[in-house]
Amino acid sequence: MGDRIFIEFGNYLSGLLALAGAPLLLNQVILMIVKIVGALLFILLNLMFIIWLERRLAGWFQARVGPNRVGPKGLLQALADVGKLISKEIIIPGAVDKVIFLLAPVLIFVPSLVLFAVVPFGRGMIPVDLNLGIFFFFAIGSLSIVVFFMGGWASANKYSLIGSMRAVAQMVSYEIPMVLSVLGVVMITGSLKMSSVIASQTQVWNIFTQPVAFLIYFAASVAEVNRTPFDVVEGESEIVAGPMTEYGGMAFAMWYMAEYTNVILVSAFAVTLFLGGWLAPFGWTFLPSWVWFVLKLYLLIFLHMWVRWTYPRIRVDQLMSFGWKVLVPLSLANVFVTGFGMYVFRGIGW
């Protein structure tokens, strides 16, 4: 019913522009801008909600209340926080490399924002349906590590430097199992295109055919977004806040928000790759596809939060050995088993 509401809006806008006599190129550019603004709005609204959700859930897990004063049920807490942080001075210590120091918290948003271009929000609601969607995700996603290192290096602080060194080491040992785990999905789908990944899940979601891959992806994605138990990059009890140690005010808030954007992002990809994207389960199409997408997204985000507020932090060398000695062999085995299974199933003509 409301399934095509956003697409209809796009078509309506396009028609309006055509009516106004805009050339095709201008028409497309304006539409693209509208799409980008739409994605940005989606991110910002969800960020606000997720920060509130995390703090409320943390309160719930920890036998306390959590923020409940600003707005109904404390929903506007994030706005109040941002207001406070904007009004604060960004302290720049004397020894830092100013340009890089200030550039890092701005750039940390770029990879996350760019990646929303290939997220299928609903039926036909993917901003850009690249042929290499999954590849794009990993390629751009790993860029954020450069920004982490920029921040850590420019801070001229040993805690920051240790944090960013850890970030690099962690990235290397987690991207590989993550990519390998998704390989199983790609083998089944036979395409790197987001829309065809979803189309291939109409019969059965990939989480049922690739349960091991899902677990590996989830573990690796927790490491990717630097949250407990894999938050060695921040490791607040030993290295204070890692690369963010020297940042204050809005500059710190940027790092903080980028972390949550990444949580949305890795969950959105998990939904697309393993949980059937915007497809409705059991044919329950009474809800629009984009509602299903958001529901599944929040299921995974909740899982992320649940894990974060339950587990302690793993040590950096244990994390490496877990990545290299457990996840990499496991994901390789998964690729092998998937290939074997596909061969057998094709042999019996299923």
């Binding site: 040993k158 240790i162 009890s237 030993e238 302690p312 932090r313 793993i314 244990q318």
Partner: protein, 378 residues
């Protein structure tokens, strides 16, 4: 072709690496207050850890010389502020020993109840903060939730949550209020379930065990040589609890066990505290059972004037052996007071324990020593 050995040779000889010094503290989040460790690191590996303390030094021992004996009691609260009752107890018992004051039966039982309640409250902080130090923030709040109930009880009897100043030479300052007994009995019923909860959330966690087991191993010989005491010593398997070994007050009347560790690692030190809390609950239950009627204050002189001489007395504090050394010149003020603070002495082991471990383990080891800076710096 490069073989593994060649590569290692190259890494060790050709690539020049430098050690660096990392200043952890005094305003570091994981140092339990204002404490500083100067770490010499090789990558993430600790080459040397130098403990620097004194940022919270208030000169309590010196201040005591200008106060009367009774006025010193509030100062003892502020040493180990997490276990004020135990500090009170050690101090007043030293004076009683000096002056030969008889303490009535009921007062002794009240003291035991208070001391063990405080021990539980103090261990709860230790267990909770240790959970934070390993990275699990949730465990901390569960411990605080239950500690709050104990603090409510302590407030009920002394009027103050932490700086209690409850004990006096010859007894305690007030009798137990009427509403105290039913509440403490109820709490003692609840606490074992709470301990099970911590075991489930913190102790049983795979990652927690990976982080703490066989980390910072302290063997019994080193522990004894460094004069470690309390849960730290017992985690290494040395059976030395003053409540059993040299019973003071009425501890010889209660049936409890002294939990011992096997490996002397961080995990055992952590576990000691949960096990000791369970034993403390047993002691309190027995003390409540046998709580006699009678006066809560013995016959002590109005002005405390111990005879000329000196006295050393020690009790089993929450962090180890808490000893008071008092020298009297016959005046109403102590000539000299010295306190054997268990945190300070246990902390001496820090650099020994940290060497060769990773940066993250420093926090784990420091947390397992369980220091209170108020006591370390005194």
């Amino acid at each position: 072709m490069i073989t593994g050995t060649d590569l290692r040779d190259r890494l060790e000889h050709d690539i020049k690496t430098d050690r660096y010094v990392l200043n952890m503290g005094p305003q570091h989040p994981a140092t339990h207050g204002v404490f500083r460790v100067v770490l010499t690191l090789d990558g993430e590996v600790i080459v040397n850890a130098e403990a620097v303390c004194g940022y919270l030094h208030r000169g309590i021992e010196k201040l005591a010389e200008a106060r009367t004996y009774t006025q010193v009691i509030p100062y003892t609260d502020r040493m180990d502020y997490l276990a004020a009752m135990l500090n009170n107890l050690g101090y007043v018992q030293t004076l009683e020993k000096m002056m030969g004051v008889e303490v009535p039966e009921r007062a002794e039982y009240i003291r035991v109840i208070c001391a063990e309640l405080t021990r539980i409250a103090s261990h709860l902080i230790s267990v909770g903060t240790y959970s934070i130090e390993i990275g699990g923030i949730t465990g901390f709040f569960y411990c605080l939730r239950d500690r709050e109930k104990i603090l409510d009880l302590i407030e009920m009897i002394s009027g103050s949550r932490m700086t209690v100043s409850y004990m006096r030479v010859g007894g305690v300052s007030e009798d137990l209020p009427a509403e105290f007994l039913p509440q403490v009995k109820k709490l003692m019923k609840e606490l074992p379930a709470a301990f099970d909860e911590y075991d489930g959330l913190i102790t049983g966690n795979e990652i927690f065990q990976a982080r703490t087991k066989f980390v910072g191993v302290l063997n019994p010989e080193t522990a004894i040589n460094y004069s470690a005491s309390g849960p730290m010593l017992r985690a290494s398997g040395v059976n030395w609890d003053l409540r059993k070994a040299r019973p003071y007050s009425v501890y010889d009347r209660f049936d409890f066990e002294v939990p011992l560790g096997r490996n002397g690692d961080c995990f055992d030190r952590f576990r000691m505290r949960i096990l000791e809390m369970r034993q403390s609950v047993r002691i309190i239950e027995q003390a409540l059972e046998g709580l006699p009627e009678g006066p809560f204050m013995g016959k002590a002189p109005k002005v405390i004037k111990p005879p000329v001489g000196e006295m050393y007395h020690e009790i089993e504090g929450a962090r180890g052996i808490l000893g008071y050394y008092l020298v009297s010149d016959g005046s109403p003020k102590p000539y000299r007071m010295h306190v054997r603070r268990p945190s300070f002495i246990n902390l001496g082991l820090l650099s020994e324990l940290c060497r060769g471990w990773k940066l993250a383990d420093v926090v784990a080891i420091l947390g397992s020593v369980d220091i209170v800076l108020g006591e370390v710096d005194c």
